[in-house]
Subunit: 320 residues, 2 copies
């Protein structure tokens, strides 16, 4: 826990908002959650309760308790005493802009307003703020937020870098790996890389080359195993022999000119959508989704322990 930040307000309680709430509570913070929907409170408490055993297994901070959680339906009341604000309303530009502008009106002037947006630029999000747009930024997490360490920090034109530094320190104190992105682009960095795979995977299914299950298997038993340890660059550097990337670019550089990857996204026809949906449903047929989540969570905890053991954070894959 950082000394200055004690009370966090989470705006919007979908899957991502609830993930943040769980992480903040586990790190010993007091959390106020805002949602327009009164039914959201029950769903939120249920989600936090379900994830809590994983947090206990991963290790709670001193003073951490599921009881430090408050629900509030008035946005102004929810944010006015907050030391840090995490926004997670649905991914619609107009909605996010207006909610953030409203938060900016009511929050303490130095309180950071961080948006979980996947794709909207921070310069856009802060455009309607009249009080202090300098403290508005993107802080984009990954699902499940309570266990995934990466958070991408991106400032907009009006963001003051000093607030980025403060946010970085705060997320580190929440046991996360904050990555500051040097330039705002749609999708930031990780989502763009994921989208590149996603487009190509849709083509492969659309063309009947492989099913969704086979595409998943081709990642899980192959590149996915390595990507948990090394990113795409280090993987190729190690594949290049003694000369590393220098040799690899000489050998495979020319292949970039080959028409391998499809250059556009496929049309999401009803037929393709059905193929993808039924493929995923078949993969999980007879499996309880809650049980699946529990297994995924346990796996992620032990995987991170494994990474610490063989690949200390201070080296190699990014000094976050």
């Amino acid at each position: 826990m950082t000394t200055q930040i004690k009370h966090i307000t989470v705006v919007g309680t979908g899957v991502i908002g609830n993930g943040w709430i769980t992480r903040f509570l586990a790190n010993g913070y007091r959390v106020t959650a805002f949602d327009v929907d009164p039914a959201a409170e029950g769903r939120m408490r249920e989600a936090v309760k379900n994830a809590w055993p994983a947090m206990e297994r991963a290790g709670l901070e001193e003073g951490a308790s599921i009881d430090n959680l408050y629900f509030e339906q008035d946005l102004e009341v929810a944010v006015r005493n907050a030391d840090f604000i995490q926004e997670n309303v649905p991914e619609r530009e107009a909605l996010k802009r207006s909610v953030i502008a409203e938060i900016d009106q009511s929050a303490k002037k130095e309180t950071i307003i961080a948006s979980s947006t996947s794709g909207i630029l921070p310069s856009t999000l802060q455009a309607d703020c009249t009080e202090n747009p300098e403290r508005v930024m993107v802080a984009h997490p990954f699902n499940p937020v309570y266990l995934m360490p990466l958070v991408e920090l991106v400032g907009g034109n009006a963001t003051n870098p000093a607030f980025i530094d403060k946010a970085k320190e705060f997320y580190r104190a929440c046991n996360m790996k904050p990555l500051v992105i040097r330039q705002e682009i749609e999708g930031h960095v990780a989502d763009r890389l994921m989208e590149a795979i996603w487009r190509e995977a849709l083509h492969i299914v659309n063309d009947g080359v492989a099913t969704t299950e086979e595409v998943d298997a081709s990642i899980v038993y192959g590149p996915g195993l390595r990507w948990a340890l090394m990113g795409p660059f280090l993987t190729l550097h190690m594949g290049g022999g003694k000369q590393g990337m220098r040799h690899l670019l000489e050998q495979f550089g020319p292949a970039l000119k080959l028409p391998w990857t499809k250059l556009v996204a496929p049309e999401l026809t009803d037929e393709l959508a059905e193929k993808v949906i039924s493929g995923c449903e078949q993969q999980t047929a007879g499996v309880n989704m809650d049980d699946l989540e529990t297994r995924r969570d346990q796996f992620l905890i032990e995987l991170q322990e494994l990474l610490e053991k063989y690949w200390p954070a201070a080296s190699l894959t990014g000094k976050l």
Copy 2:
């Protein structure tokens, strides 16, 4: 070990060939290695010796020994008694075609000839075979071959599916996960997905949005952790809440029309090449590459144990 296959010939002893040799030896087979270069024998024995402790740790098959390895410089002699042949000469179409045609002349008529090619189509590779093109196929592995379970099997126009079935059984007996690809395309499946990420990652570095180290960190601390467990489809299915992929496609389908991913590969200018090479060299500065390989190998062994524990192979991510 399968009963019919006892003696394997590996043609070409680069990084991939030596990886196969190590895997086959560890699974109790007798291996003959062919290479035109007499100096290749020393490098090959060194590579197998270095990887052997990892194989001992992962578990050797009965009778497995590093002493069951023979080096041969005459291709005809090397292949004529083989029960299975794995080809790994450099990735040049004309070279591969002629080597495979020569193997086809000398090998026993029912012996499978499997090529490790990353990108060349099996129909092309078998085109010059006059004896029995039906037993020629692609069997594409991943580095390090002695530990990575995935092998992609692809038949060409002339391939008899019965040989694909036999090869599948053989690779399973080598503790691998054979994925039969339904249609031949350049790059098969996993390499296409990797190439999609690779192109986008090069753009991100080229545009100054992130360094190679930051791109790697964005995978390792984010999507990479999940991809070790689930492929892209199951990841999104679980991100879609109770409605799974159905909900997700409704929400994010329209985003496929957004100009996120760059639609072409970047020009590999000298400047970009230098940026990528020096980035990778900085990431590994002061680190011994052999030590890095040892750590990666130990990690991959324990990661696969973890996957077995939480995600038994018989479910979810592809029933290979």
